[in-house]
Symmetry: C2
Subunit: 691 residues, 2 copies
DNA sequence: ATGCGGGCGCGCCCGCAT
DNA sequence: ATGCGGGCGCGCCCGCAT
């Protein structure tokens, strides 16, 4: 990465001798009978350069140089608070900064090597977006329809430009056809087509007028044999790949009423994504059933952080049931190897630790995390397919956290970005502050925040998940003590009536009766020096308090800090699960678990998996051009051991932290730590896994 | 075959405990909201028996008992001069004879063994119609659409009845859906649906009113994704499987004008098949080109009747070109094994000799020859697929002829059916007389007569095929003499200027100069006694006269009869190629060859093969449910050695005949015979085979 | 020009879930 | 009831052959 100013690099490359990236002059159509753009001067915002140049309207809100500098880090230009791929420019001038003309020749000579006219770009940094390449260089005979559009047709150029901005997550063939269809519908409505181009290419930064198409009788359109609601289709293409109809709300700027019988506005920036109303009245009945308590000792015995493949220790039938969260029994045609395959493929870290929130490694152009400006990444494989719309936003079990949130007594949490080089460490008093200070602050546009808001809505409108049947559980949690990756001593069960438990460095082996789990009494012949030293520091340890609503609070009693893995706390702080270590200073008390959250998370996982299965079956049924691989499905579901770790456990390391900024990468490298298994949540999970 | 009266057996079998084959009562629909047949007494022609019986209108023209007796021979009922499969009846009453009721239960219990309730039928005689079975017992998931029709829906029963009468030659899935679609369109037009049922089940014997459906804007409908003209679609299903739009002409009885903008009549018996007008102005330019004469010695050297696989002696490239009549070079994706495979598979006889014109062995229900009442059968394989719509109607090279037409001097030809037992030998003065005497006389409904009429139209409107270039041929024919299956002596060439040639038993080896081919001069050390005796009987032999229009006349000069294979004469007498031996008595003179006919035949073969190739490619492209086999294609094309034999040769056996009624089955078993190769026709054939 | 054949989307229809 | 999703045919469109 060179230090001097450079331009962004697009995901779609237009090699060609021309210096500009342009749309051809619509006035010079060789087809005299075409009604398309036959008036040479109908729009004042158009500046005509020469007969082959189409000049985009000058962007009224040029991006500041500091924004461009930020964008420089990862070769993406940020527009409208989101990252977008930027078309190729070789004049050093950002695309939106001035009136830049597109050269038709650059479209027609894609065979020339890209480097020949882009010498200033370090090509090692250019993300290879294979799907995009397929889009343009496809030799698929199924794409014959696009060949009907002559390359001389200006529609084709517009389609190609608009295709550059699609957000991935859809079948490229579908995206192409959908854009082709839209452009065709707009070709006689020049103003609206211009509005669409401006909206999309500016990423919504420009205020644009409505882009309307005829509304069909049932409000759906069909593209490539697939039906969809128009504004949802195009919102998915250009804004949120996985948005659903219920989540889209018209903004005030849109002049077309939602109930307009003739027209529908498909301007993707005339809609905002909101929490779906479908969760307002969420049915939590699965929690209130009074079915007999089941034996979930198998789940309890799982050791996701210490076993290389914890699923292997389970009985085979349970593995099948568990790994796909009940999907298996509903889909007999489901590949039978999905169980173990998912466990192995999804949890293992596929991603290098990020170095800076703005210096993300970019993956496939189809990756839903593409352009995500949150300081967080997914555990998803970089080879993720376009199907990966319901991907799990979490760190894998052995991925190192990049953030620390410091929890001091009587102080708000403070975020420390340990992924930055030490001289650049940033500190924010809370996530909101961090967001506000972030020049690329996004609102609800990122998958993780959207997802968390959805969970909050579910939690807010759900009934109390603490049903009577949970009173049958003899213990509310069990605690396992580890030194490094080895369990020391027996798992310690905390009975339901003992709502407070202290885990300390004491030596009393009978402390259980007094609500104490004395780690000092546990012997380890292989104990390391580091563990010896840390055990001394445990001191008064920590206190866990169990509330009747199922929530758990943690208080640090020790003189030294404890470091906590609590995915509920990640959620509360809008951090991706597993991305953050929560540092508890002496006296700090925080809620480390919430049963409603856990239940909502399980419901959402189930929903995602059903959607993934549906998509898989759909594609498998459709056959032909985009046969999904099993891998695609694997990537979109979460293994049950992940779910168990996220939803049903808390881990506490004494004295020593882990992750970015610490010597130890993983929790299981810390000298002394405990994992708390929360039984009510495990029971919920188990109920989900029942047929 | 038992001697007592029996009922006909259908191609589709309805096992079930009920005694009747019926359509359920439409008045007792369980769905109260259905508008379908909700008026219990709207049509006086309906007689209600019980709530599950639908009584068909009594046929006003019951078939006479003698017709039924004829039908008894082959287990098919003849209606309207054609054979139709007859639904299962176990009460001994013909379906059309009285008001017979259908029992819904018989449809719903197809799992019971058929024999258990049809004990009076000799099941060895029942043709196994696999395609029909597939239609009813299909477990193809692609046919899920039909499952949407509940078995309680009376539409289903009507569809099933109507499906029984389809003529084969179409994709069964398509047929089913097409009938379903039609019945659905007619369900609110009770009178027209009744008319359709009457028309189809009576095979047109009943005069029926128009059956109309809405006419689409472009006049086409779509069924199972395939578009077609409605009346053509249903005419193909119920009358002529391979009919094309141009061949269908509205009859006077139809009340719907062809140009009616709203309605189209799909009553298949409101149309007649006529010779397509597209042959009226047939382009015979291929004959008039003045291209250089080509070497067709390869064709001349072929000995189709004596070589087991004559193609093998040809150079490989020519084999490829010849076997598929130019299809090969136009279809690079064509299976490369079609060449030799076609030669072997199509020519060998696959059929047992027929015993009686009305006692045909029935083949697949999809076979286009199904129900053919002409005293002729095809050389087509009995395993012919439904694709076989352009099948070759001819006897194979080694199939024995079943008929003799006696040609006496100054008398019209007289047909003798030697396939009948001797006590039942029938003699007719000509084919027309035979047809008139035939109670099942058909008009143009049989493929062979249709085809021949088409050829006649082509001949009538074609230019004279005798182009100037043919004058370049040094010889107008060559003659090969055989004893049994062995050629004796050298092939005898007849120069173009020598328009008459006599083949006699003389001994003059220099007779060629005088226009004589003296067979008596040819020696054979292995000569059999039979050949010795016959050679004595050759006497003055035969005289061939070549006319400038390319036709050839044969005169029998011998005191004994000669027996002639002349496919032109077959054509002239409406006999299937190879089905007939033409017996020439002394003094008889007949035209044995016509060049225009030969050329028309080649054109038609080419057309058929192109259609077959098109169909093959279409299905191969479509893939999925009805992938055609290479065999299906093989069956629809004729090998070039067949074409050479049919179009370019005449064979004459002295004294002894062959085929049914004679001791010798095949020509090559006769003691003394000659084959005449006609060079102009061979040149035409060769031109067809040029790329 | 005209017919012909095929691709594909909206309208219609239907089943399913809630 | 209502929404949702999907099947399938007619209308529209287009390319090709003649
Ligand atoms: Zn709008
Ligand atoms: Zn009619």
């Amino acid at each position: 990465m060179t230090g001097h100013a450079s331009t962004a690099v697009p995901t779609c490359q237009y090699p060609g001798p021309g210096n500009n990236f342009g749309v051809p002059d619509f006035c010079n159509s060789s087809n005299g009978t075409s009604q398309y753009y036959s008036n040479p001067n109908r729009d004042a915002s158009l500046i005509q350069n020469n007969q082959n140049d189409y000049v985009f309207p000058t962007n009224s809100n040029p991006i500041s140089s500091e924004h461009l500098q930020q964008a420089y880090y990862n070769n993406y230009i940020s527009v409208n608070n989101s990252f977008y791929p930027m078309p190729v420019l070789d004049n050093g001038v950002p695309f939106y900064d001035t009136s830049t003309s597109f050269d038709i020749d650059s479209f027609n000579q894609q065979q020339q090597p890209f480097a020949s006219f882009q010498p200033s770009i370090n090509f090692n940094l250019i993300p290879k977006t294979e799907v995009q390449d397929d889009l343009w260089n496809s030799t698929d005979p199924n794409q014959a329809s696009s060949s009907q559009m002559q390359s001389s047709d200006p529609c084709v150029q517009v389609v190609q430009v608009l295709s550059c901005y699609h957000q991935g997550g859809e079948d490229p063939d579908f995206v192409r056809k959908a854009i082709e269809s839209l452009v065709k519908k707009l070709k006689d409505k020049r103003t609206e087509l211009d509005a669409l181009i401006s909206a999309v290419t500016s990423g919504g930064k420009e205020q644009t007028s409505c882009v309307t198409i005829h509304r069909s009788l049932d409000g759906r359109l069909q593209v490539a044999g697939k039906k969809g609601v128009p504004h949802v289709v195009y919102a998915r293409i250009w804004r949120w790949p996985n948005v659903s109809k219920n989540e889209l709300q018209k903004m005030d700027c849109c002049r077309i009423a939602p109930e307009d019988p003739d027209l529908i506005c498909v301007n993707p920036f005339h809609y905002e994504r909101v929490v779906s109303s479908e969760y307002r009245n969420l049915d939590m009945s699965t929690l209130n059933n009074t079915q007999m308590p089941v034996d979930f000792s198998n789940i309890l015995s799982m050791q996701s952080t210490t076993s290389a493949c914890p699923m292997e220790s389970l009985p085979v039938p349970l593995q099948h049931n568990m790994n796909t969260m009940g999907v298996q029994q509903n889909a007999p045609q489901f590949p039978s190897n999905i169980g173990t395959a998912a466990t192995e493929h999804m949890i293992s870290p596929r991603m290098h630790p990020i170095q800076h929130p703005h210096i993300q490694h970019s993956f496939s152009g189809e990756d839903p995390s593409f352009g995500l400006s949150q300081p967080q990444v997914m555990s998803t494989s970089p080879a993720a397919s376009p199907m990966l719309t319901g991907a799990v936003l979490m760190y894998g079990a052995s991925q190192q956290p990049n953030y620390v949130i410091q929890h001091n007594a009587r102080e708000p949490p403070k975020l420390i970005n340990n992924a930055l080089p030490s001289f650049a460490h940033e500190e924010f008093n809370n996530v909101d502050e961090w967001n506000q200070s972030n020049p690329f602050h996004v609102n609800d546009d990122t998958p993780i925040l959207y997802r968390y808001n959805k969970l909050r809505a579910m939690i807010a409108h759900a009934q109390q998940p603490m049903s009577e049947s949970s009173l049958d559980l003899p213990d509310w949690c069990s605690i396992t003590y580890y030194e490094l990756d080895t369990q020391i001593g027996e798992t310690f069960n905390v009975p339901a009536h003992q709502e407070e438990i202290t885990i300390d460095g004491g030596m009393d082996p009978g402390g259980a009766r007094l609500g104490r789990f004395c780690l000092g009494a546990l012997s380890n012949v292989h104990r390391t020096e580091a563990s010896e030293r840390v055990r001394i520091g445990i001191g008064k340890g920590v206190k866990l308090r169990y509330h009747r609503d199922g929530s758990v609070f943690l208080e640090c009693l020790s003189d030294t800090s404890v470091f906590v893995r609590s995915n509920y706390m990640d959620f509360e702080n809008n951090m991706i699960y597993g991305s953050t270590v929560h540092k508890f200073s002496t006296g700090a008390v925080r809620k480390v678990f919430d049963l409603s959250w856990a239940h909502a998370e399980m419901l959402e996982q189930q929903s995602q998996q059903q959607a993934a299965r549906h998509a898989y079956e759909q594609r498998a049924h459709a056959g032909g051009r985009s046969q999904p691989t099993v891998g695609a499905l694997e990537n979109s579901v979460i293994g049950v051991d992940d779910l168990r770790r996220v939803c049903c456990t808390i881990a506490i390391s004494f004295v020593k932290g882990w992750g970015a900024g610490y010597n130890r990468k993983e929790l299981k490298e810390t000298p002394c730590w405990i994992e708390v298994q929360l039984h009510k949540s495990l029971q919920l999970l188990n109920n989900f896994l029942q047929p």
